[in-house]
Structure formats: structure tokens, C-alpha cells
Amino acid sequence: MSGPPAIEAVDLTRSYDLGGERVQALKGVSLTIGDGEYAAILGPSGSGKSTLMHVLGALDRPTTGTLRIAGRDVAGLDGDALAELRNAHIGFVFQSFHLLARTSAVDNVALPLAYRGVPKGERRLRAAAALERVGLGHRLGHRPNQLSGGEQQRVAIARALVGGPRLVLADEPTGNLDTRTGHEVMDLLERLNGDQGVAVVLVTHEPDVAERAPRRIHVRDGLIETDEREAGR
């Protein structure tokens, strides 16, 4: 794919005020995620990897540094503009799925399109197609409590994909799943990355999950420690 990379970050910092104390969660991170790339961000808890994910996903703004998402500089964008940017370019997969409880799978998946103003009928069609791609075409009307954990995470992945994003950010996507289901979810993410060319950034602290990624970015104390790529994958 041509055009700007999915994400381009230059010298990002992010600091918080915690009870009058200045805490620097990111201390200058530079990183580019190309289109269709598959990368894992690893690090112990407190390393700043969650903050990094929030900043890369435009859920949070960097304190200093430059961040371009799909070529667009986020500096100076207000909350609503960031919301539109997320809606257009980024899909999220969370550890705890974050599905709306009393809402069917298809309507959960259709939710991002609602905020894009897509009419309801078309929304449902596209959501059904996305559920089909994650192998849940037979579960459209089921509610989250009628689905297994693995199925719920697949619904969440369908929701991340439905808007045709450049990048899917997955925050510990297997954290709440048993090993076998976790592997199935990883298989799915890898397949979608391969088939559809969506860039995937995986945040995890599980080495065996990270092992599967061709690029592994280690974060420690708010800085990138190592950024390794496996050749030929």
C-alpha cells in the first residue's frame, strides 16, 4: 500500500500530575508502524506500554513530540476531531472485550458505523459481513452473555475491523482467555493482518503471544529498549 504509514511517532513524551508529583510515563518514543505491519509492544507493567498504546490510538494526547496517524498530525486536534480520527482509522480490541451488554453481536459490531452516520440497514449488513469474517456469521443475534469468552473477543475484533481501519490496536487481547482460545484469537488477528493488510499492534506482557509477531518492540521505563524485526516473515 502506498501513502503515509499508519502511525508515525517522533520523540513522544507523556507526563502526568499524580498528587502534585510529575510522573513521566513516556520519555521520548519514536516509532513508525507501516501499513499492513504486525508488531507487538512488550514490557512489564508500569513500563509505559499502556500509555503508549493510548497515545498511539489517539485516546490520549502526547505531552510533547509529533504523532501522525494516517499522515494526520494530531497536534491541535480537539476531543471531537480525535474521536473522528479514531473512528476512521483505528480499531480497538480490549482485554475485557468491552461489548455493550444488552446489545446483539451485530449491533455491537455496527456501533462505530453509527458514529459515522451510516444508515442502520447498511450498518447491519456491514457488521454481519465483519462477523462472517471472524467466523461468527451464525451468531449475529446473540448477546454477549450468550457467547463464550473467545467468541466475545472475536465480536470485538469484528467491531475493530468494521470501519475499515488502517490499524488495529489490541491491548492484551488474550489476557482474559484460556491458552487455547487465546491462540485462536491470535490466529484470527494474524490471518486478518495477512489477508486484509490491516496493520496490527499488539500490547502484551505474555512472551509466547509476542513471540508470534515478526516485530517486537520492548518498552521499559518509558523508553523503547529494543525494536527487533525478524527477517523473512
Partner: protein, 393 residues
């Protein structure tokens, strides 16, 4: 997000917390119910009073000494029959009557009633338009020659004579015997006082009986509605010229209606204001529950924002929820209020008058309460930081 979808999302949220939604609504229901019922009863009371005053006759100007108004001290009258003659010069023959009233006991043998004794002149019946059931009314001769004759109200006649025809029979008033010459047709009550309990005798006879020469009031029948205002000012002018330093009032029933209507209107407004306070309390309840709802659904808000919901999408969702709560409560309150008002009207003498504007206003106000009390929680929801909201427990 489109507006119609906001409604669907809000309805769903209310449905999920059905019990809580109903209880929250109850506050608004009670507030609107109270407003509708109290306004209906206030309006009904005013209609009742106005109806009674209208019964007095339309083109009549009442002339009384002193300033007329609620709270004004009663004034001892200095008007005499000379003043009646002056008014007759203004308004024409037969258009003016005067009277004096006193509470007296009236006896026929052992039967005794305490009646309003009115000294009247021959024009009293014409000016006040009081039909007779039988006999005749006071004549000019009766008045000029101080005849001891009496015209009885229907209730007075019934109490004193029962089934017996009172015409030509005698009653004793203040130790003086009077011959009954007529009986009024029943007219009913004014301000809770039966005018049918009245006994009328010639003004001059009453003067001698009571040992006075004053008249308490005069009444002038204006020839038509247009001349009333002019006649009023000329009456007051004439009387104040004749009695330097005295004040007189000439009022029509329309003006009385105006005064009483103002008083009852103010009363209704006060009642409605008290009821509105309960509506306000209901609104605070809505605000409170919306804050709880926002807190409970912080993660949902965070998710929606992560997926692309803008501030106004989230704000709209919660605002619509609040307005749905209060306007549904308002509608229920209106139905209950109208029902209660109609029940009260059917079961008690208090009439209920449901003005068209009162339910409309109540509905508008309850929807407005939803907006007013929903805005703060909805803004809080709209401003939530998605990172913080997603992490919430």
C-alpha cells in the same frame, strides 16, 4: 449519531433500569399532577364566584360610600334620600333604587326567622330584576306613606307560613306589624348567603323602624353598557359635590369581577407555585439519578468515545434520556391530574375548570425540567476522558 437513534438508545437504557426509571418519573408525575389539579380547582373556584356575581345583573352600578376594595374599612353612610333624587336626575326616572339593610327577627305567631331586612323603594325590583312568585312589589305610595307592608323572600315565606299562603297575612318585625303583599321567586345564593331569606319593606318605613334616615347603598341601572363609565364618574362627582370631604364609589359587577378575579388568580398562582416546587424536587431527583447513571455507565461512555462518539453524541444520549424520563412523567401526571380534577368536580361542590393551557404548560415545563436537570450530568458524561472512562470499574 442520528436523533432517532439517540431516542432508541435512551429508551433502551431506561427499559433496562425499569424500576429506577419509574421511581424517578414518580417525582415528576406528582409535581405535574399537583400543578394540574390545583390550577383546575383554582380556576373552578373563580368560575363559581364569577357566576354568582353575574347573577346580580349586568348593567347595574352599585353606589356605596367610601373606597371600595378588599381590606378597606366599612364606612358609615351619609347618603340620604336626597342623594337618591340627585342620582335620579342623572340616570332617569325608575333607574335608581336605594336601600338600607339590617338584621331583624321576623315573627308570625310562634314561627320566627332571623332575616336580612331591606328597606327598599319602588324601583328595587326593576333595577335588580327580581321576579315575584305572587302578589305585588312595593309601590311609590307604599314608600311615600310609610306603609307597613312587606315582600318576603321565598325561604322566609316558607319558614314563616309553611304551606299557608302568606298574602294578606301579618308578620311582626321589631314589634311592628306588617302586612305581606308579595313573595319573591327563588333566586338562590350569592357568596353563600341566601337572598331568598330576605324581607323587604318600604325604605321610609324601615327608616322609622330603625330610627335613621340614611341609605346604605344605591344602585343605578345604566341604559346600556357604553354609558356605564360616563355615568359612574358623574355619580361619584355629584355625590362628592353634595358631601364635601366624603368619598364615594360607583362600581359595576364587571369591576367587582375584576377585583375578585385578581384575588383568586393570585391565589391560584400561589397554589401552582407551591405545586411547582414539588416539580422542582422531581427534577432534582432526575438530575441525581442521571448522575448515578453516568457513573455506572462510565465504561460504556469510554467505549463509545473510543469508537468515535463525539462529545455531543454522548451528551445527547444522556440528555434525551433525562427528557424522556420527565416528559413521560409529565404526560402521566397530566392524565392523573385531569382525572383527579374531574373526580373532585363530580363528587364535591368545588367545580374544576381545566384550562387548555395548564396541561400544555405542565408538559412543556416537565420537558424543560428534563433539559435543565439533565444538562449537568449529560455534560459530565460528554466530557469524560476516554482513557479514564475505559479504566473505570
Amino acid at each position: 449519531m442520528r436523533r432517532r437513534e439517540l431516542f432508541a438508545v435512551a429508551l433502551e437504557a431506561l427499559r433496562v433500569n425499569r424500576m429506577r426509571s419509574l421511581l424517578t418519573m414518580l417525582g415528576v408525575v406528582i409535581g405535574v399532577w399537583a400543578v394540574v389539579v390545583l390550577v383546575a380547582i383554582g380556576g373552578g373556584a373563580r368560575d363559581m364566584v364569577e357566576g354568582e356575581i353575574e347573577g346580580l345583573g349586568s348593567n347595574i352600578i352599585f353606589v356605596v360610600p367610601g373606597e371600595l376594595g378588599f381590606g378597606a374599612a366599612p364606612t358609615v353612610s351619609r347618603m340620604t334620600r336626597d342623594d337618591v333624587a340627585r342620582l335620579t336626575d342623572l340616570a332617569g326616572e325608575g333607574a335608581v333604587t336605594a336601600g338600607i339593610t339590617s338584621g331583624e327577627s321576623v315573627r308570625n305567631g310562634h314561627a320566627e326567622v332571623f332575616a336580612t331586612l331591606t328597606g327598599a323603594d319602588e324601583n328595587g325590583r326593576n333595577v335588580f330584576d327580581r321576579p315575584l312568585a305572587k302578589g305585588r312589589y312595593l309601590s311609590e305610595i307604599d314608600v311615600e306613606t310609610r306603609r307597613r307592608v312587606a315582600v318576603l323572600g321565598s325561604v322566609a315565606a316558607e319558614r314563616l307560613f309553611g304551606e299557608v299562603d302568606p298574602l294578606g297575612r301579618q308578620v311582626t318585625i321589631g314589634g311592628v306589624r306588617f302586612r305581606v303583599i308579595g313573595v319573591f321567586a327563588a333566586v338562590g345564593q350569592t357568596f353563600g348567603q341566601s337572598r331568598d331569606g330576605e324581607v323587604q319593606v318600604p325604605l321610609t318605613t324601615a327608616h322609622r323602624l330603625l330610627g335613621v334616615t340614611r341609605v346604605d347603598f344605591a344602585a343605578v341601572r345604566a341604559p346600556d353598557a357604553e354609558s356605564i363609565e360616563d355615568l359612574q364618574s358623574r355619580i361619584v362627582e355629584t355625590l362628592e359635590d353634595a358631601h364635601p370631604g366624603e368619598r364615594f364609589s360607583a362600581v359595576t359587577q364587571t369591576q367587582l369581577l375584576g377585583t375578585i378575579g385578581t384575588v383568586l388568580g393570585a391565589l391560584t398562582a400561589v397554589l401552582a407555585a407551591i405545586a411547582a416546587i414539588s416539580l422542582l424536587v422531581g427534577g432534582v431527583g432526575v438530575s441525581n439519578i442521571m448522575l448515578v447513571s453516568v457513573r455506572e455507565r462510565t465504561r460504556e461512555i469510554g467505549l463509545r468515545k473510543a469508537l468515535g462518539a463525539r462529545q455531543r453524541d454522548v451528551l445527547g444520549q444522556f440528555l434525551v434520556e433525562a427528557v424522556l424520563l420527565t416528559s413521560a412523567g409529565g404526560a402521566a401526571g397530566i392524565v392523573l391530574g385531569v382525572g383527579t380534577a374531574l373526580t373532585i368536580a363530580a363528587l364535591s361542590p368545588v367545580p374544576a375548570s381545566i384550562a387548555w393551557w395548564s396541561p400544555v404548560l405542565a408538559f412543556g415545563v416537565s420537558a424543560g425540567v428534563g433539559v435543565f436537570f439533565g444538562v449537568a450530568p449529560a455534560r459530565r458524561a460528554g466530557r469524560l476522558d476516554p482513557v479514564v472512562a475505559l479504566r473505570a470499574d
